[in-house]
């Protein structure tokens, strides 16, 4: 069970951290509820500030990569081609 649970936890966490559409549709550019992805897009497209927007989106990627790495090491996951992830 553990590997499957860990994989599910990782995927759901990553999905939650990069969420965009729900927040954008429901609260727009409200600072109180803005997620990383909404902020990055606002800088990039709405403000046409490609430098800041790209920096924000790269940071978002790094944060997510770090969380995945922490998850994978604490759960002691090994990548295997056949079972995708094995405990």
């Amino acid at each position: 069970m553990k590997p499957a649970l860990a994989v599910a936890a990782i995927f759901r966490t990553l999905d939650a951290m990069r969420i965009f559409d729900l927040v954008y549709v429901l609260t727009g550019s409200n600072r109180e509820t803005m997620t990383m992805a909404v902020y990055a897009r606002q800088q990039l497209i709405d403000f046409q500030d490609f430098g800041a927007g790209s920096a924000a989106s790269t940071l978002l990627f790094l944060v997510i990569a770090m969380v995945t790495a922490i998850f994978a090491t604490t759960a002691r996951l090994r990548l295997s081609e056949r079972g995708v992830l094995a405990g």
Binding site: A4, F11, L14, M17, R18, F20, D21, Y24, V25, M36, A37, A40, R41, L44, I45, F50, G53, S54, S57, T58, L60, F61, I64, T68, L79, S80, E81, R82, G83, V84, A86
Partner: protein, 276 residues
């Protein structure tokens, strides 16, 4: 005996709670879509009078039929392209041993974990460079990034579980690799193709960020963006009735599709999956 009865009752109650939690929002959307004006803020659970005015208004006040057509074109193109690319790829990844195969597979997996917004600026450059800004084909190309990892992984796993003897028989009979693919493997992979195709279709149908960023006119918008941008007569009014009617119109066919093919989707996805 009593303990068992209590357990069964508790389990049943839990199931009911979960089902209500999952289904109620959609039910409420349907109820809201049948109400207009002040009735929208009525919180009784059953719709009193049924009013289809919202559904008429959605199609009259904006090119919503065109938006649905756009979504169909984009999602259909995405499915065809991703299956056409993933089926041969799964043969290579599942059958042929070459250097870097594992790395390539995990590269695909990594891409599926990528936040979309991280590739937004790069994708924008590509779409603009190809002259596909505000074009449906540009959206379909972007969606491949989302659908390909899933289709490649599932089809590769499926391919590995197909018995080798079948294709060996075909090769002995002198079939070329393309003929083998087309006449032998594709029919065998049909359940997996249907399942992944449907999931790719749903992903493309629901996608929001790329569609919002890479289209500009209401004639090229896809459904999710069109719904998000529905606005009232004044800036202070949000026509919830129209929004709900539009949402129900585009969600209901999808829900029915998934319910009909539910068993096939599960079968197609798990056929080759995780057997470590």
């Amino acid at each position: 005996m009593l303990l068992r009865l209590i357990r069964r009752a508790a389990f049943g109650a839990l199931v009911v709670v979960i089902v209500v939690y999952a289904v109620f929002p959609f039910y409420w959307a349907i109820v809201s879509s049948l109400r207009t004006g002040q009735a929208l803020f009525n919180t009784t659970l059953v719709p009193g009078s049924v009013d289809l005015g919202n559904y008429v208004a959605v199609f009259r006040e904006q090119p919503f039929a065109r938006n649905i057509f756009n979504s169909l074109i984009v999602a259909g193109t995405t499915v065809l392209l991703s299956l056409a690319l993933a089926a041969p790829a799964s043969y290579a990844l599942g059958r042929i041993a070459f250097r870097g195969r594992t790395a390539l597979l995990f590269g695909f997996l990594g891409i599926s974990m990528f936040p979309q917004v991280a590739v937004l600026s790069g994708m924008f450059e590509i779409v603009q460079g190809l002259g596909l800004y505000n074009r449906l084909l540009g959206l379909a190309l972007c969606y491949l990034l989302i659908t390909l990892p899933l289709t490649v992984w599932v089809l590769t796993a499926f391919m590995r579980d197909l018995p080798r003897e079948i294709e060996e028989a075909a090769l002995v009979d002198g079939a070329s690799p393309l003929l083998l693919m087309w006449r032998v493997l594709l029919p065998l992979m049909a359940p997996a193709l249907a399942a992944t195709g449907l999931l790719a279709f749903i992903a493309a149908w629901n996608e929001f960020l790329f569609a919002l960023t890479f289209t500009i006119t209401s004639e090229t918008r896809t459904v999710p963006v069109a719904i998000a941008l529905i606005s009232g007569a004044t800036g202070y009014e949000l026509p919830w009735g129209n929004v709900m009617a539009a949402s129900v119109t585009v969600t209901l066919p999808l829900v029915l599709l998934v319910l009909i093919f539910q068993r096939r989707i599960v079968a197609g996805l798990t056929a080759g999956a995780i057997k470590a």
